[in-house]
């Protein structure tokens, strides 16, 4: 049976068919649906872990126990999981272990454009890169074979375009595997220096054997087209763009394994074509390898190091063909993403804007607080950085900083890596104010449960972290809760904590307006007789409110009656 599947769903299907027993991940666009989809198979024990490092270690533990195991993450998640990742390369596996890492060329939903292929080389771990959903499934199964045969974790590298495209997949049955026998083996599994030295040598020999595999036609494929003078080396989505643009006018070396790379295979291919191109998004990873082999391919001299490619990129840069287009003669206003109607973050950011404080930001839907008209975020680095960077800011600025700055962090991000920063604040004593935006869900990646919500990945009841108790327990004396729908309460609560001695946590608590169990009130209406068109209600950036004929208007199809706008109106013109 053939099914139209997302790349991510196809990876999950591969996990199922390969007999994987344990999957532990932290959500991150564009990787989230792998684990969400894996959770629909009862045979796989799936979970959302508190962060990527935890998930990679859980997968390592399951491998020790003899199960095939998995963890998935976005590219920046591998930074978090890098510590276990590098040493698992030395240890290898008992049950096969695969990590999926999804890069985001073009930064559709990410804070940077890092190229994960460097991790494979740095940790000396083989990396496969599929070019469609069918390969997502096949390479996943292959990864487990290689993992066990070569005694190594294997990385499946996806790009956003492969992860989030649907194409046809042939479904097969699951191979049910018993747990492999666990044998105590400290020389292999306990990475003391004395043991690790031996394992490092093993890793180098393993890479040699993997290069031999790369030279064969098992994963890397040569497609020669008669009469074609152009040769293209590419992997993943770039292979598809090249095929789309050049068709049979080029020959291809399609790399299924992007680390380690073959040598002879590449040189032989290069010898068969007049003009050699390496087409790859982001860094010159394959091109640099070719240059090391003494070849001079055309690569980053014409292709950008930045952004996502498409067939247009190849048509323009290889063939010099420009697309014919129709355009209007006027500017089209941009439409950036906005906080949803009824979003609890809106009231909180409005309060912060009124207070005029420095806002140390973090990763989540609430990063939109940086955009107009709220424009209330000063910095955003990575998951958890809001808390620890606020601590550093206050170390440098002293009392002046402490009384005029806050950190904002979502509930899931707080558990991911905000809590460690908060411990630092308590232990090393800055009077910092950390605001936890508790909307009872992991919002940005599309509503995943997390350790604070009381439910697990399957939606079954689970232990819930009590944020108040947790903050008290790590040494925060002042822990208070406010409702961001109530602007006065929110402003006063934060103001009070800025002037209270000792570090504080303010929990801004209100569930995400898109959660199914959240009951909405009827849409609000503007009393046109009272409205003076002052536009004060526009300052919260609610997409349901606009100005028509110099009076405010509320779009009844969008408004969820949250009421945040009502307290802004000087004429009390907004009501039910």
């Amino acid at each position: 049976m053939k099914k139209l599947m997302l790349g991510n769903e196809a990876v999950a299907r591969g996990l199922y068919e390969a007999g994987v027993k344990v999957a532990s991940s932290y959500p991150g666009t564009p990787s989230t649906e792998i684990t969400e989809s894996a959770a629909t198979y009862d045979e796989i024990r799936c979970e959302w872990a508190s962060n990527e490092k935890v998930s990679a270690e859980a997968a390592a533990g399951a491998s020790f126990a003899g199960a095939r195991s998995f963890c998935g993450m976005k590219h920046v998640g591998l930074n978090v999981a890098a510590d276990p990742f590098f040493t698992m390369s030395y240890i290898g596996v008992n049950g096969g272990m695969m990590l999926a890492v999804a890069d985001d060329p073009g930064m559709h939903s990410s804070q940077n454009e890092q190229d994960s292929r460097h991790y494979a080389r740095a940790a000396k771990v083989p990396m496969l890169e599929p070019a469609d959903s069918s390969e997502c499934k096949e390479y996943t199964k292959l990864a487990y074979e290689l993992s066990e045969e070569y005694d190594t974790p294997v990385v499946l590298r996806l790009t956003m375009r492969i992860a989030h495209s649907r194409s046809l997949v042939e479904l097969d049955e699951r191979e049910e595997l018993p747990l492999k026998e666990y044998k105590k083996n400290p020389q292999k599994n306990v990475m003391l220096p004395a043991f690790a030295k031996g394992r490092h040598e093993f890793v180098e020999q393993r890479t040699e054997r993997l290069i031999e595999l790369a030279e064969s036609d098992k994963i890397n494929k040569v497609e020669l087209n008669e009469g074609a003078k152009i040769g293209v080396i590419a992997a993943g989505d770039c292979y598809q763009y090249a095929k789309e643009a050049l068709g049979e006018n080029a020959s291809y070396l399609k790399l299924g394994m992007v680390y380690p790379l073959p040598e002879k295979l590449i040189c032989d291919f290069a010898a068969k074509v007049d003009k050699l191109y390496v087409i790859e998004e982001l860094d010159d990873f394959i091109e640099a390898h070719c240059r090391k082999l003494g070849l001079k391919p055309i690569g980053k001299e014409i292709f950008s190091l930045c952004g996502e490619f498409s067939q247009k990129t190849v048509k323009e840069l290889v063939l010099g063909k420009k697309a014919e287009t129709v355009c209007l003669d006027e500017d089209i206003p941009v439409r950036p993403p906005v906080m949803c109607c009824g979003c609890p973050h809106r009231g909180l950011f409005y309060a912060l804007k009124k207070l005029g404080v420095y806002v140390s930001g973090d990763i989540g839907c609430y990063t939109l607080g940086a955009t107009a008209p709220l424009s209330t975020m000063d910095t955003c680095v990575c998951m958890g950085a809001s808390v620890s960077a606020l601590h550093g800011y206050n170390l440098a600025k002293g009392e002046d900083g402490e009384k005029n700055s806050v950190a904002v962090i979502g509930d899931s991000t707080f558990i991911h890596s905000g809590i460690t920063g908060l411990i630092d604040i308590a232990y090393n004593a800055t009077n910092s104010v950390v605001i936890v935006l508790d909307n009872s869900i992991t919002g940005m990646t599309g509503h995943q449960q997390n350790p604070t919500t009381g439910y697990n990945i399957k939606g079954d009841p689970a232990a819930a972290v009590n944020l108040e108790t947790l903050c008290h327990a790590v040494g925060i004396p002042n822990v208070v809760v406010c409702d961001p729908y109530n602007l006065d309460e929110t402003i006063n609560t934060i103001k009070e904590q800025l002037n209270t001695p000792g570090p504080s946590v303010v929990i801004s608590r209100r569930p995400c307006a898109l959660l199914k169990y959240v009951k909405h009130k009827p849409a609000l209406k503007i009393d046109k007789d009272k409205c003076i068109g002052c536009k004060k209600c526009l300052s919260i950036g609610c997409p349901a409110i606009s100005i028509r004929n110099k009076k405010a208007e509320i779009d009844a199809t969008q408004c969820v009656g949250c009421g945040v706008c009502t307290s802004l109106c000087p004429k009390s013109a907004i009501g039910e």
Partner: protein
């Protein structure tokens, strides 16, 4: 070998473009085509301009539809049709919901929503099929059915038989909303001239 056809589905995040692309993808699959659908995911796309690509034929390589390549653009909102116009192939067609949703720069008064935007597109020699899908969806019973109304409008401009569409709707939407969606589909079809 039949040529690969490209469809662009555009709109405002939260309008249900993903369900629409899934419906179209599954209907094309029933017809035996090779299909690729490329989507934009994540909650924080909401309210923003979103685009989904659907490509089909004997064998599809790239999942992306780029500038000047779309045979058809299905737009959930008028301004988005104008924004993605450069993606239309010469001789291509636009099917559009006339509903206007103000983007944030318009809400805050930094920009104006262009007037008569669909006429301006027509004046460029582009065929535009338009209807107010929001009103039709309300008529069907829910404003959330805008996406299925638009699929009905699209249906007449594909080589997929009506029965295949109806079966696909049945297989894709939750049973308790089936009647509503079938009605929405019929209303969309009726509103779209061949």
């Amino acid at each position: 070998m039949s040529k690969v056809k490209s469809v662009l589905i555009v709109g405002v995040g939260g309008q249900g473009t993903l369900l629409a692309s899934r419906l179209l993808g599954n209907a094309l699959l029933s017809k035996g085509y090779d299909v690729k659908v490329s989507e934009v995911h994540g909650m924080s796309q909401r309210g923003g301009s979103v685009v989904t690509y659907v490509r089909y034929g004997d064998k599809v390589a790239s999942p992306i539809v780029d500038l000047g390549e779309a045979d058809l653009i299905l737009s959930f909102e008028a301004l988005e049709a104008a924004r993605f116009l450069p993606y239309l192939k010469k001789g291509g067609k636009i099917i559009v919901n006339t509903q206007q949703i103000d983007p944030m720069p318009v809400v805050t008064g930094k920009a104006e929503y262009p007037e008569n935007i669909l006429d301006k597109i027509r004046n460029k020699g582009v065929e535009v099929v338009s209807a107010n899908a929001l009103e039709l969806a309300e008529q069907a019973g829910s404003v959330k059915a805008v996406n299925v109304v638009l699929m009905g409008m699209l249906a007449k401009h594909t080589d997929i038989e009506k029965q295949v569409w109806l079966d696909t709707v049945r297989d894709t939407v939750p049973p308790k909303f089936l009647d509503l969606n079938l009605k929405a589909f019929e209303l969309g079809m009726a509103a779209s001239p061949q």
